[in-house]
Structure formats: C-alpha cells, structure tokens
Amino acid sequence: MPVIRDELMQVRASDDIVRVRQMVRALAVELGFGLVDQTKIVTAASELARNTLDYGLGGTTLVEVLEENSRIGLRITFEDNGPGIADINLAMTDGYTSGGGLGLGLSGAKRLSNEFTIESRVGEGTRIAITRWKGR
C-alpha cells in the first residue's frame, strides 16, 4: 500500500499524547476528513498513545498517509518495547484493565477505526496499527 507521507513521533511523557493528537488532527484536517471521522481517529490515537506510555513504558507513534485505489487513509502505528501483552483477547475485552484505566482503550480504539491490527510478544513489546479511510 503506497505511503505518500509519514511522521514519526516519540511517546515518552503525557505531553507527547497531546502532540500525537495534534499531529493526527492536523493531518486529518489537511486530508479533508469530516469532523466525525477526525474526532474518531484523534480519539483512538489518544487512547493508544496513552497505552504506549502507561503499559508499554514509552515508544513511538508513526503517522502515515496512505493512498490506495484513489482513496486516502491515515494509518497510525504505535510501537513499544515494553512487557508485551500475554493474552490479547483478554486485553481487547471491554472493561478489562491491567492498570488503573477504564479498560476501553484497545477495544474502543478498534471500534473507532476501519482497520485494526495488534501484535505483541511477552518481554519484547507491542505493535498496534489503526487505519481510518476518508469518507467511509
């Protein structure tokens, strides 16, 4: 899938979550996403960036602009070298949390995205990618 632009950001502190939100918002606006689509992808990115920080002990966020069959999308990949997730199905369950959160981050981010992938190895880290296509 052709990537026509990308931006890599570090997620090391809570201010970085705000920066991720602002970057995703700016790109979504620039690409002409509708307001609801913008809000959904920014909210999903905020959830996952916070997970990178709180559970992954920091990592990176890669924001990519995709173009495929004349449609435009935003893919955001969150990567950390943290402890990893032992039971992904459990982690994806609404209301389940291993920390102090509400347990909506992963499941909620999936619902707010058109595509969602998660890979994790215990002791190595986690990679989560979400994509939202314009106007769908």
């Binding site: 602002q22 809000t39 609404d94 909506l104 619902r111």
Partner: protein, 129 residues
C-alpha cells in the same frame, strides 16, 4: 504549574476547559475542584467543554470522577456544551458518562442547577450568602 481556572459565582463553581488537556492538567483540575467545593461550600459545579475537540477515556473518567466526588461532598456537577462529533465518538468508544448530568449549553446547565437546588437557602447563583 499550568492550571485550568475555576470561577466562583455564588455557590456555583464554573470551569471552562479551553485547552487540549494533557493528563496531568486533568488530574490537577480534579483535585482543585474537589478542594474548592469544600473551601467555598459550593453546591454545584458547571463544566463547559464546548471547545474540547475530543473526550477520550481519560478525560471521560475525570468528568465521571468529578461528578462522583462532588456528589459525596454534597454538590452537583453538570457538564455542558459537548460537541455532537465528540458525543458520537464517546459513545462508540464505549463511554456513556453514567451518573454525570449534562446540558446542551451553559444557559441550560445553569437552569438545571438552579431548578435542582431551588428551595435551598442561598443556592441561587449570585447569592454569596
């Protein structure tokens, strides 16, 4: 330290969230509001979120916490001005803000609080008694 200002008006506390809140700022607001409810013997808190472009689970939890904490301190909380796109996203995220009173705008929110607190001495906005 960066803080969100809290305005006191009679027995009401008014907060307008006008920035993209980072998590620490949200926690500080929660603590400040709880302290000020006690300090000013406030009966109600009105939080205007009309300029907030997103409410994620962290901010949602903060709003629910403020509502719960004010309730046990004998004050009501109403959250006003949520943008439609934020409401759609919040529900899809899985948050329904159970236990949090909401109103469409500041005016409706004040009406709701005034009605709810009517009959109580000195509960009206502007009355500092």
């Amino acid at each position: 330290m960066e803080r969100i200002p809290i305005l006191k008006m009679g027995r009401y506390l008014l907060v307008t969230v006008q920035v993209d809140m980072h998590d620490r700022l949200a926690m500080t607001l929660q603590d400040d509001l709880t302290n000020q409810i006690v300090e000013h013997k406030a009966r109600a808190v009105l939080i205007d979120i009309s300029t907030l472009e997103i409410v994620d689970s962290f901010i949602g939890r903060m709003l629910a916490n403020i509502a719960a904490m004010s309730r046990v301190l004998d004050a009501m909380t109403v959250v006003v001005g949520m943008q439609p796109s934020v409401a759609i996203t919040l529900v899809e995220l899985g948050l329904s803000l159970k236990g949090v009173y909401t109103a469409l705008n500041v005016e409706k929110g004040m009406e709701f609080l005034t009605t709810s607190l009517s009959g109580e001495d000195g509960a009206d906005a502007g009355n500092t008694g």
